[in-house]
């Protein structure tokens, strides 16, 4: 994996006004980079702002503050149509709900070809058809499916149609917003395998948003853990799982049930109590170990460094 930065997120904030004086800080000052060709996993519990982060990056929401650099170019702020179109082709999204993400009134062919139609990628009807069929085969569906409607497909098949739609414009960066959480276990594996295969074939970069930690661990190279709009820990996937530092990450990891009865019988759960933090000081994002960042106060930082800094990264 190259260390070339594809996406840089700088102090990204997304606040929603919910009333005259109340503001929900869904995303509150995020900083992270995504390297070319990697899969960056973003995990957290419901309401922590992980989906909002994804949607803000792709401009579905206008950021309250901060910037998102894609290939060194800020994607937010004023843009003309041409620039936006170029950007839309580069960055694509896969959605969570396979039942809501496909227009029920459109044929699969038209759904997949929508991006090609908007950007004029197919010269004529024949080329369009051929491309759609090729994409269907790429995602493991039959050519004959092009003329069917979404309601005739199962959840997993629909999700693959959604992937084909995103691929139709040849993006280099794909935000996968909980792409498997609405799917059955056996189907999840199909989709994850497909995403991995596509990544290899097309040199894709993923931002993989999920709450299923074992799947995120499996697919991601690096993982960021979010808690109430802030990132509390960021590290290599293995490092994060083997040596979690932030107490919230530890509690999350200790809560995942694993398909192993013996392990489950002996599992010790760890509960996170946010009031244990020293609130007199605003915590900052600090690098405890090379590549392993934790949100902590100066005192905690010293403590973490002593305890975890020496452990060699595996």
């Amino acid at each position: 994996m190259s260390k070339e930065k594809l996406v840089e997120i700088r102090n990204l904030k997304q606040h929603f006004k919910t009333g005259r004086h109340s503001v929900v800080k869904a995303v509150d000052g995020l900083n992270f980079d995504i390297y070319k060709g990697e899969t960056f996993g973003l995990v957290g519990e419901s309401g922590c702002g992980k989906s909002t982060t994804g949607r803000t990056i792709i401009r579905l929401y206008d950021a309250t503050d901060g910037e998102v650099l894609f290939n060194g170019e800020n994607v937010h702020g004023k843009k003309d149509r041409e620039q936006l179109k170029k950007f839309n082709r580069e960055m694509q999204m896969i959605f969570q709900d396979p039942y809501a993400s496909l227009n029920p009134r459109m044929k699969v062919e038209d759904i997949i070809a929508e991006g090609m139609d908007i950007h004029g990628l197919a010269k004529d009807e024949k080329e369009r058809k051929a491309k759609v069929q090729e994409l269907l085969e790429t995602v493991g569906l039959n050519k004959e499916h092009a003329n069917r409607y979404p309601h005739e497909f199962s959840g997993g098949q629909r999700q693959r149609i959604g992937i084909a739609r995103a691929l139709a414009v040849d993006p280099s960066f794909i935000i996968a917003d909980e792409p498997i959480s609405a799917l059955d276990v056996s189907i999840q594996a199909q989709v994850v395998n497909l995403l991995k295969k596509l990544q290899e074939e097309n040199q894709l970069t993923y931002l993989f948003i999920a709450h299923d930690l074992s799947m995120v661990k499996y697919i991601s190279d690096r993982i960021g853990v979010m808690y109430f709009g802030k990132m509390v820990e960021l590290a290599d996937a293995d490092d994060l799982y083997k040596h979690p530092i932030h107490p919230y990450t530890q509690s999350l990891l200790s809560s995942i049930p694993l398909p192993d009865p013996d392990y489950e019988r002996s599992r010790e759960r760890f509960t996170y109590d946010p009031s244990n933090h020293d609130t007199s000081e605003e915590p900052e994002f600090r690098e405890v170990r090379p590549g392993h960042w934790v949100l902590c106060t100066t005192k905690e930082f010293e403590h973490y460094k002593k305890e975890h800094g020496a452990v060699t990264t595996s």
Partner: protein, 353 residues
């Protein structure tokens, strides 16, 4: 141990304008006192329909119980009238649903919702019922129950709300508790709390639990025995160790293989190809054959019977027949089974039942 519930050859169908959808096609299982039976399967495998049929909660029409017996303490629930069923629902058998948002009445105080069942089934008066509500809320781990019972559901967080749902289900000391994906809508940390709570309560009350889920991690955590459902049938049933460490059915292999373990490196996940069959016209032979990489000619022609692997472990696959070739489960599953050979029987040949 005595059998609390014995389901025999249950068939449930839905009549739609497209034809008859056979959602449950001959299911047999039993639940004993104080044990947790987990039913796993994909959506559409009939696991929810099965348990709804137990409680007679299937809308009829279009649904109907075509065949079979549901013996609860010797009584056939399938033959009871709606009136008789109402006496059993909430008292002897109660149910926890998936979504704590919709299973509580938003306009009623939490305490009153719990009291409802107590007054109706236990013939308690208000003071007794109120005392019991406080006990129940304490039991499910809600702090300060005296004041919390006067609040409305929206004042509770998701996890707390599910605790209230559990308290309602437990109010009348049911002998059997049916939990239909009770933690799917919850975050992992909350899920872990609820699961612990349920295990804890079972120890105290000795009730039987049917736990429906698609999450094998949850199954490993709560279950004593596991039934794996596919296309309206139980394809494998056994103790939790049987299923996780010595699975025999290729579908179970697929389910286990498709879960990444936390230390698995970049190996590709073992995925079951394709999608579940359409139960409007179920395929001939083994319903899983089309997705089974070990499928044999016979799978396409005849439905496999249940083969006995051990006293507690049965699986419906022709692979267990004496004439079948020996096949090895996929690598991902073998890795899981490793080190567990001690308490799993190693014979691959099954005895037909």
């Amino acid at each position: 141990m005595e059998k609390l519930l014995d389901v025999k050859n249950l068939h449930v169908s839905f009549d739609t304008y497209g034809g008859e959808v056979q959602a449950v096609r001959g299911v047999n299982f039993d639940v004993k006192k104080g044990e947790t039976l987990a039913i796993v399967g994909e959506s559409g495998s009939g696991k929810s329909v099965t348990t709804k049929a137990l409680m007679q909660l299937i809308p009829m029409p279009p649904g109907r119980i075509k065949e079979g017996e549901i013996l609860f303490e010797g009584k056939d629930l399938a033959k009871l009238s709606e009136k008789e069923m109402q006496k059993i629902r909430g008292k002897d058998i109660s149910m926890i649903f998936q979504d704590p948002m919709t299973s509580l009445n938003p306009t009623m105080k939490v305490g009153n919702q719990i009291m409802e069942g107590l007054i109706k089934h236990q013939k308690m008066n208000k003071t007794q019922a109120r005392k019991r509500v406080v006990e129940l809320l304490e039991l499910v781990g809600i702090p300060d129950p005296e004041s919390r019972m006067k609040q409305y559901p929206h004042q509770f967080s998701g996890g707390m709300r599910q605790r209230v749902v559990v308290a309602i289900a437990l109010a009348c000391n049911p002998k059997l508790l049916i939990a239909d994906e009770p933690t799917t809508a919850l975050d992992v940390t909350i899920q872990a709390q609820i699961l612990e709570l349920m295990k804890d309560i079972q120890k105290k009350t000795d009730s039987g639990i049917i736990f429906i889920t698609h999450d094998l991690g949850v199954v490993a955590n709560v279950a004593d025995r596991v039934a794996v459902m596919y296309a309206g049938k139980i394809v494998e049933v056994g103790t939790v160790d049987d299923i996780f460490y010595n699975p025999k059915h290729p579908y179970t292999w697929g389910l286990l293989g498709s879960m990444p373990s936390l230390d698995s490196q970049d190996a590709e996940l073992y995925a079951i190809p394709g999608s579940p069959p359409d139960l409007l016209n179920p395929p001939k032979g083994d319903a899983f054959a089309a997705r089974n990489e070990y499928a044999m000619q016979i799978d396409l022609e005849q439905e496999p019977p249940m083969f006995k692997v051990s006293d507690t472990h049965y699986a419906a696959t022709w692979l267990l027949h004496e004439n079948a070739p020996n096949v090895e489960p996929p690598e991902a599953v073998k890795a899981r089974m490793k080190g567990m050979a001690t308490n799993a029987s190693s014979d691959t040949e099954g005895e037909r039942v």
